[in-house]
């Protein structure tokens, strides 16, 4: 029998062009990161739902040195933590913007695009700069 990995639903979402988190059918809470069961009520009855288009920047770093394959030539680049306060969710995302002009609270929206290895991955751009708010 094929084992279904805990992040399979996330991958499937990206393949459809969607950034998904888990929603618990038992208690109605959303959770991130994806887990085998709900951290709020321990139910295994989880499904995948698309995250809202935009989130607020909670914090960030600008990576100036890396040995990570595919990213060596991209430095300096910004990686942030994006926040959905309404769901108490925060997740890591690559910020496609000027790394010198970041501000906590700034709104970013995601799109799914081919990453350095060709796989579909979320990329976040400032909403004011024409993102899909």
């Amino acid at each position: 029998m094929t084992q279904i990995e805990d992040l399979q639903g996330y991958r499937d979402g990206l393949a459809r062009g969607e950034l998904c988190c888990q929603l618990c059918e038992a208690c109605g809470e959303r959770q991130w990161p994806p887990r085998p069961a709900c951290v709020h009520c321990r139910s295994f009855d989880l499904r995948w739902v698309v995250l809202p288009d935009s989130a607020a920047l909670f914090t960030w770093t600008v990576v100036a040195r890396t040995r990570l394959a595919g990213f060596e030539e991209k430095v300096p680049y910004a990686v942030g933590v994006l926040e959905y306060p309404e769901h108490e969710l925060r997740l890591v995302g690559r910020l496609d913007t000027d790394p010198d002009r970041l501000e906590v609270g700034e709104r970013f929206s995601w799109t799914v695009e081919p990453s350095v290895d060709g796989s579909p991955q979320p990329v976040w751009r400032p909403v004011a700069a024409g993102g899909a708010a």
């Binding site: 914090t59 040995r67 990686v79 890591v92 995302g93």
Partner: protein
Amino acid sequence: MDADGGRACIVGIGQTELSRNSGRSITRLALEALLAAADDAGIDPVAIDGVVPYPDSVSAEDVIPVLGSPDVRFTAVAHMGGASSLAGLRLAALAVQSGQADYVAVFLARNASSVSRVDTRVRQLAGQAYRRELEYPHGMNTPAQWYALACRRHMHEFGTTREALGTVALTMRANAQRNPGAQMYGRELTMEQYLSAPVIADPYLKFDCCLETDGAAAVIVAREDRARDASGPVVRIEGIAEGHPDSADDMASRWDVFNTGLTKAAPRAFGLAGMAPSDVDIAFIYDCFTFEVIQQLEEAGFCGRGEGGPFVLDGSIAPDGSLPVNPHGGLLSEGHLTGMNHVVEAVRQLRRQVPDDRQVPGVETAAITGWGDMGDGALALLARA
């Protein structure tokens, strides 16, 4: 932490030189530190009947044949990243107090500079699926980057400054100038040099980041009644505890980002020891990065949350401050033996075995913090017996 034969004590310490390239195997480094610790404890290595290695490195089985005990009774490994050194020390204390072993060696050996650097080592930490699928594709794969996120947020919430980070770096570097064994001995650092150094992961500049080191350190833990032959005064483990943050396998999603393992471990350790933060004479803070010193000073209770910046800026952590920190230079400037070198130096300071210019006067008690993985934490409180 009383038991029939007295408290758990550190009765022996051993450490190799710290270098960029040891030129020998990690198993050999481990044995050098272990045999030095046995010698310091005044015991035959064959008496070591408990072995607690650091995770994902030299194992107990790798060192038992040379140590020579015919009957090792206790082994255990704590998987808490950099906090594993203190978590291992705690396992050793529990083992000797419960009579599961008489002499437990806790050790770490690594060729982290010459062989396995940090971006390869982190592939052994918790939550690998999250790292691989939810961070690497976005260009994030090192502790400097993870903790830079927490640092930036702390700057935003509490106004923590670049100068506060620099003060931590400069204090550790100045301390290393009194430690000929430090990797940064003879290499002073000015604020100007600190500020003009290249960015690693903003806000972290080069000198906000710890060293990569080859070397090994070991301590031997026994009950107080077995400590007679030790070379120096006995050092008691008055209280020791570990703690795990919420969402222990993922830092970015943690709702209270500053509530880490140490936040939970510290009150437990102080409670066990019957001590308060104000009773601590000297602190060894797990200084993997400058901001983590500020954060841990806060979460251990040496100052309030958000007050760590001003605390370091006013000189509190300097050798003549209210809470001298890392007089050996720490992971930032002595070397990075994942905090086992902090334990070794804490024992040396409590025994008054370091040169006068490095000895913090009148030290009776020491605190040591551990920090690892996604914010696992530990706190040990030691005292001269």
